[in-house]
Symmetry: C2
Subunit: 480 residues, 2 copies
């Protein structure tokens, strides 16, 4: 019989070495692994099932705001990629090129899409003629490839899975509004379904997307105080459409520019789920996104009636669309508990001969190990309630952690001191100058600008770096 201690000992504690803890959890929960293809990941069943749930829930939110899914080619001809100047400058160094096909050298090479703005423009250039053709609000779920040098599971890999939404509009205002609308969809999804609290706002000039006028970001704080950019929504103005000569005729037959947006969220977010909610026993999944929400673990399952009752409960909960399974393997209950905890399954139901006699079971919450006695007859009613409570409490707990780790600084010296003594984010004023942004990052050993919140707090009137008049209140932090 395997000791349950053994399983836990495979995981380094968070305090000891957070990076190693992360790697251990990803490995032991069998979420993903490095493949033989350098820099690329194998998304294994346990990890991919989380992504499937993310897709399902986020896609429903997209469709509620009129998004239609499409699929465009994975290859981009070299001449298309080059049409928008800033875009090609941003992406050229990190693309992979197909130069041979069907046994021959190609006349024009293709890059594997690092993102698909250029392809969407190419499609729209042919389709859009009049105001009647606008707006188009499209999205695709696909993988993209960027030739990264350093890689980490979920956080950075050459190929990764994501969705990329692309929209085109008749007016500047409508496109700007859509940029914010999709940013709000991300915010609601991440806070409500993933129980991850966020800071959010615009990116600075140097941090925004290649070719964008504005980039909006949601940023989550990991348990080590670093920030993970969790979703971005870009406003392009008419830059891309003009570069691709996409124009429309209005009702008076006059030719006009179009305006575009794009927005993306990737498998990186699984890294955020792990690093916001996980603990020293492994993964802790928010109930709404957990592929298995409840695991039934029988005690003394060889005794008469135990497995029968466990199976009866399984079927009853399945009927209520609760994602439940039963571990009737011949491992010890202790081992099964450790495994369920490692996998982050939100609830386990412990059921043995005594419980059956008393007509109740013990329900244990993964997040705080709280044990709850529940009458067997009430399970269908109680389990969904407990899951929803957990979802809310996990958000609240993460929110407290976030709020307790946001500091305010008015001088660079103060900011350096906070950065040295604490983990977390620092709010400070900024003049808007790129040189100051870089100097602040260097002085604090890595606190870069994360976002400029829309609701500006007037911490002081001066840039924390140069002392000139402050233009923005910025949230600074180290990042993944």
């Amino acid at each position: 019989m395997v000791d349950n201690k053994k399983m836990v000992e495979k995981i380094t504690s968070r305090e000891e070495d957070f990076a190693q803890w992360y790697t251990d959890v990803v490995k032991e929960a069998k979420l993903c692994e490095y493949s033989s293809v350098k820099g690329c990941l194998n998304y294994l069943p346990n990890g991919y099932a989380i992504w499937e749930n993310i897709q399902e829930k986020l896609d429903r939110r997209f469709k509620n705001v009129g998004v239609k899914n499409v699929y465009l080619p994975m290859l981009i001809p070299e001449n298309l990629l080059q049409k928008e100047k800033d875009h090609i400058e941003g992406f050229a160094p990190e693309v992979a090129w197909v130069t041979q096909g069907g046994g021959e050298d190609l006349e024009e090479k293709f890059c594997i899409r690092p993102t698909s703005e250029t392809l969407f423009c190419d499609v729209w250039q042919k389709q859009i003629k009049s105001y009647r053709d606008l707006p188009l609000v499209w999205n695709q779920w696909c993988s993209v490839l960027r030739w990264e040098k350093t890689t980490r599971p979920f956080l950075r890999s050459r190929e990764f899975l994501w969705q990329e939404g692309h929209t085109i509009h008749a007016t500047y205002e409508e496109a700007e509004e859509r940029t914010k609308q999709m940013f709000n969809v991300y915010y609601d999804f991440v806070t409500e379904d993933l129980a991850i609290p966020l800071v959010f706002g615009k990116k600075t000039e140097s941090e925004k997307f290649a070719g964008a006028e504005d980039t909006y970001t949601i940023e989550a704080m990991m348990h080590d105080g670093k920030s993970l950019q969790s979703g971005t929504s870009h406003f392009f103005g008419s830059g891309f459409p003009d570069a691709f000569n996409i124009k429309y005729l209005d009702k008076e037959n006059k030719l006009h520019s179009c305006y575009e947006t794009s927005w993306g969220l990737s498998t990186r977010i699984i890294g955020a789920i792990i690093m916001v909610h996980g603990d020293d026993e492994g993964l802790v999944l928010p109930p709404r996104i957990a592929p298995i929400q409840v695991r039934i673990i029988p005690i003394a399952q060889q005794k008469e009636g135990v497995l029968e009752k466990a199976n009866e409960i399984l079927e009853r909960l399945q009927k209520e669309n609760i994602k439940v399974d039963l571990d009737d393997s011949n491992k010890s209950p202790g081992f099964k508990y450790a495994e369920q905890e490692m996998l982050g399954i939100p609830l386990r139901i412990e059921i043995g001969p005594k419980d059956i006699e008393n007509e109740e079971v013990i329900v244990v919450r993964r997040n705080d190990r709280k044990k709850i006695s529940v009458k067997i007859e009430n399970l269908e009613k109680e389990i969904p309630t407990i899951l929803e409570e957990m979802q809310k409490e996990m958000y609240q707990q993460a929110k407290e952690f976030l709020e307790n780790h946001i500091f305010t600084a008015t001088t660079l010296e103060e900011m350096k001191k906070i950065a040295k003594e604490n983990i977390g984010f620092i709010k400070a004023m900024w003049c808007g100058d790129k040189a100051c942004e870089e100097e602040i990052k260097a002085a604090t050993e890595g606190f870069g600008s994360r976002c400029i919140p829309e609701k500006r707090e007037q911490i002081s009137t001066k840039c924390i770096c140069c002392g000139k008049e402050a233009k923005e209140m910025v949230i600074w932090g180290k990042s993944y």
Copy 2:
């Protein structure tokens, strides 16, 4: 006001030119289009929505038989692709190679996956150690790339969307059983959800998958009598696992070979839906797979109460999870009817002032234009019934067409005559020799072997070509 005739006139009739009819329907229903990337398609919202429904329904069937989804890299290193001899011979001529990445020439080139047997083997080689690790039943939804020379929408393109399932087992028998099980899942899905009748069986030696011991196929008859291979399930024996040195230790600690299967279904199937069910007015979608099942079209919608009632019906049907929309644009009802028919939406509800007065509406079935009067209060009950009836009748109608176009031949002369005078399939006996298979195809101007049904009919005892003893009864046909 646009005449509804205009829309229909955009479509060539099926009898006049079936290939042009197909192209017209794909274009006018806005399902997909050629992209600027030669040989690749843009899957547009109307076409992709069908694929999403296919994914949802097929994926549920997969999960019911224990399939778990994963995602492996899109790139395959050259040395991996070469490990299985037949496989590389089959695929090498049609792959695309990535030779540059991150601004540098690569030491080893990567092909974009044409299929992923080699990658799954590579993952399993590291994961499988003992009998406890088996079986693994995995699947991925992804796109693959094959450098095709000629392309047609949905039927053949360089990049296409599909699912590829891969499984590995401890015994020959278990793998063989899984091959057949997944083949049955395809059969049930295509006949039940897509209302497409099938012939099915094994492929001949020359038609099977590169590296497979056996390939099972489902074949559908298009309205022009040609066959469309709609899904295949391959049994690999231990060929791949042995080539990749995947072995497992049994309970007695002895080393054993593993056995594999793979099975795939692609966006080609959308071509089958179009060519089995479509008519001269456009697409006809089976209700179970239609992105929109019912369209409400108001008549004299400017009159008081019409749009209110139409919206009320819309909401009531939405509550019942019927996929319904309302066309309240200012086009004429005739134009709206033509558009709904072109898009293949199974039912339309016509509602005008008189209907409201009579408390009933006209429901029109897309497949046969049958008009049904339904009391407004009964719509929630009646609509699902009508949809299910349509689904069954569309299957029956296609089945009659299939059965009426399968002929039997006992001599090559007879077969040539049938092939010349009819469209459809021909059943005939075969000795098992590749030379005869080729001769038959040449003599009949394209009737190749489609499949060898498991239930063999003993049409005669001799090969239709060489007159030697017959080994198999083969279904022959032209193919897409």
